[in-house]
């Protein structure tokens, strides 16, 4: 196992389009790093550059002590799991697993031992004599995982491996993969993983750290908790979390008390936020997580009044959509809790949790409420 380093990595296509803009990323030995972002953010391109399936047009990729820019994929010490499994359709599972070792001319008994071990770990022993077309999606994905595992690579690369599975299977495969990662770590052979997904649930639940990407730039690299609690910018704030963070244009004023104005309403900046602000007055984007909004009576202190436009019953909680000026805010209310009985057309008050309000620069999107935090 080895660490992986990307240094000002760039990808420029022949037609001049720049997909990856000189990104820097360091993945520690044994770390589970998730690359996440909306489609078109170049996360897969980045992964394929690490794998050697795309040429690198600038910067370098280091695996361990070696710069691997000019090495073919087979010599980089990587293994990759593809979205559509990419099992060799004409080979039985056994040969699919051992193909890599055969190409490397490993001795027969070693191949057999490795096949046995890997199929034991992934519980695919009874599938060894089947062809890929006789496997279900989950089984095929396990075989694909086995094909990567058997090579004992320096770095594992996953390219949206679960997106072809149904929701239930996806959840169980998610656990299986993280379990496997922990198990290898406990056994003293930690696996360095780079895992690409567009699904933030996968990212949050699986990653030791998460790298959020947008348009070929890295927006933030952090562990899931930091990403959720302290998003570096409005994009990360909006991308991570379900339902999405409410991003509302607002104005910050001092007259002389700090006040936030949004949708024509002015609210005193709550204590939890005021001491964090080292910024001048002016236009900001206010970031409020739906979970950090409390429903109160209209006209209450420190709350914005808003009109309910939609109520979604989710079972254990209720999503209340309410209009504030031009924006629609979403608040999550526990079923049976305060405000759970509101209905469409009601006027309500939404009180943000002062300690958890984020203010982003209206121009750059940078989080300006992180200073002096905690």
């Amino acid at each position: 196992m080895a660490e992986l380093q990307l240094k000002s990595l760039e990808k420029k296509y022949g037609n001049g389009f720049k997909a990856v803009h000189g990104i820097d990323l360091e993945v520690q030995e044994g770390e589970f790093m998730v690359l996440v972002g909306p489609s078109g953010c170049a996360k897969s391109t980045t992964l394929r550059m690490i794998a050697g399936l795309e040429t690198i047009t600038g910067g370098e990729v280091r695996i361990g002590d070696n710069v691997v820019n000019d090495l073919v994929p087979g010599k980089r010490g990587i293994a990759m799991v593809f979205q559509n499994y990419a099992l060799y359709p004409h080979m039985k599972v056994r040969r699919n697993l051992s193909f890599g070792l055969k190409i490397k001319r490993q001795p027969k008994d070693r191949i057999e031992a490795a096949t046995g071990e890997v199929s034991g770990i992934l519980e695919i022993e009874e599938l060894l004599e089947r062809l890929p077309k006789q496997l279900s999606g989950g089984q095929a994905q396990r075989v694909a995982l086995g094909r990567a595992l058997i090579k004992q690579p320096e770095v594992f690369l996953f390219d949206e491996p679960l997106s072809n599975l149904d929701a239930k299977l996806r959840a169980s495969m998610r656990v299986r993969i993280t379990d496997l990662h922990k198990r290898l770590r406990d056994e003293g052979r930690p696996a360095t993983v780079v895992y690409v997904t567009h699904d933030q649930v996968e990212a949050m639940t699986m990653g030791d750290r998460i790298c959020v990407m947008k348009d070929g730039h890295i927006m933030q690299v952090a562990d899931p908790r930091t990403l959720y609690d302290r998003p570096a910018n409005a994009f990360v704030g909006g991308f991570i979390g379900m339902p999405e963070m409410n991003l509302v244009p607002a104005v910050l004023t001092r007259d002389p008390d700090l006040r936030l104005t949004a949708g024509g309403q002015s609210v005193a900046v709550p204590d939890g936020l005021a001491h964090r602000l080292g910024i001048p007055d002016g236009a900001v984007t206010m970031g409020l997580r739906p979970q950090h909004l409390t429903l109160v009576a209209p006209g209450s202190d420190g709350a914005f009044d808003a009109k309910v436009v939609n109520v979604e019953f989710m079972g254990h909680e209720i999503n209340v959509h309410a209009r504030l000026g031009d924006a629609v805010l979403v608040a999550v209310v526990p079923t049976g809790g305060m405000g759970a009985e509101v209905s469409r057309g009601d006027l309500i008050g939404l009180r943000p949790d002062g300690a958890r309000i984020h203010l982003f620069d209206a121009e750059t999107g940078k989080n300006v409420s992180l200073t002096n935090h905690h």
């Binding site: 399936l53 073919v72 994929p73 990419a86 193909f99 190409i103």
Partner: protein, 304 residues
């Protein structure tokens, strides 16, 4: 004792009697399908009759061939086969079959290998001038064969290849059949690249990827190519006619014509018998490879 007939007939009991409209529709359907089948059978028979007649005529005597249009021989005889096989030359027909194989086998193998290589290159690699080269390849598809005959003849004459089989199969070794290259390219395009990428990650080089991964997936297409090439080469008349001048080297297609030239009164039953024999290799090969062949020509419908 209870027998089956004692049980109430459930299916009949549940069924309500058909309404007059239903009966009318049913009758119409039956009539229309009867008309359709009769038409198809008649047209089908018209199409296949010459072939049936050919086979039948091969077993007729020379005089009977022209007396009766009916395909079934009155007194079946193997005389035609015997005479035809011996031919009027010093060689029997087995010799000509063997000659055909000397052309067909190298040609089929060469086509399969060269077309796969070229198609793999075009379908999977980026290289300078790819678009232009591909356009030229497709352009040769549109070029009528006839216009290249004379330049080709001159070329092969300069090479000293006249009266050898080389002009007949060497072009296929360098992927001279644009149609087959195109066919394999289309097939390859429908196969996702991930399998090849997985092989590269597994450490396979380009050649290993081609041999272990791509070729097995391409098999249906390659078999179709071989089959087409086999049949077309077996039946090729013009090529051997132009390049092969000594009787000793004649393939079947020319040898058939030989029997017409050589004698004054044509032994039609001998010619027809040998024609029937000449059909057999193609038929056998076709039926052996039928399954893959059907998969291969329905190129677009490759499952991912």
């Amino acid at each position: 004792m209870v027998t089956l007939s004692d049980l109430p007939d459930q299916s009949r009991a549940d069924r309500t009697p058909p309404t007059p409209l239903e009966l009318k529709l049913r009758r119409q359907r039956r009539v229309s399908s009867a008309i359709r089948y009769v038409l198809l059978i008649v047209v089908g028979l018209i199409m296949v009759y010459p072939l049936l007649w050919l086979v039948g005529a091969a077993f007729k005597t020379n005089s009977e061939i022209f007396n009766s249009p009916w395909f079934w021989p009155a007194r079946p005889t193997l005389e035609g086969f015997r005479e035809g096989w011996e031919t009027s030359t010093p060689y029997n027909f087995g010799h000509f079959f063997l000659n055909s194989m000397w052309i067909v086998i190298p040609k089929v193998i060469g086509t399969a290998i060269s077309c796969t290589l070229v198609a793999y290159g075009f379908a999977r690699f980026e290289f300078p001038g790819k678009k232009i080269l591909f356009a030229i390849l497709i352009a040769t598809l549109l070029l009528p064969d006839v216009v290249t005959r004379i330049p080709q003849y001159l070329l092969f004459r300069e090479l000293g290849w006249l009266d050898t089989y080389l002009p007949l199969f060497v072009p296929s070794w360098v992927a001279g059949d644009a149609f087959f290259v195109f066919m394999v390219i289309q097939f390859l395009r429908a196969i996702p690249r991930e399998m090849e990428e997985a092989a590269r990650v597994d450490g396979a080089n380009t050649a290993q990827t081609l041999i272990f991964i791509v070729v097995p997936m391409l098999m249906p297409a390659i078999i179709s190519v071989c089959l087409f090439q086999f049949m077309w080469t077996m039946n090729d008349f013009l090529g051997p006619l132009i390049y092969i001048s000594s009787v000793e080297k004649y393939p079947v297609s020319i040898a058939l014509k030989l029997s017409i030239d050589a004698t004054e009164a044509f032994n039609w039953n001998a010619i027809l018998s040998m024609t029937v024999l000449a059909l057999i290799p193609s038929l056998v090969v076709f039926f052996l490879a039928q399954k893959s062949f059907i998969e291969g020509i329905s190129t677009g419908g490759v499952k991912g």
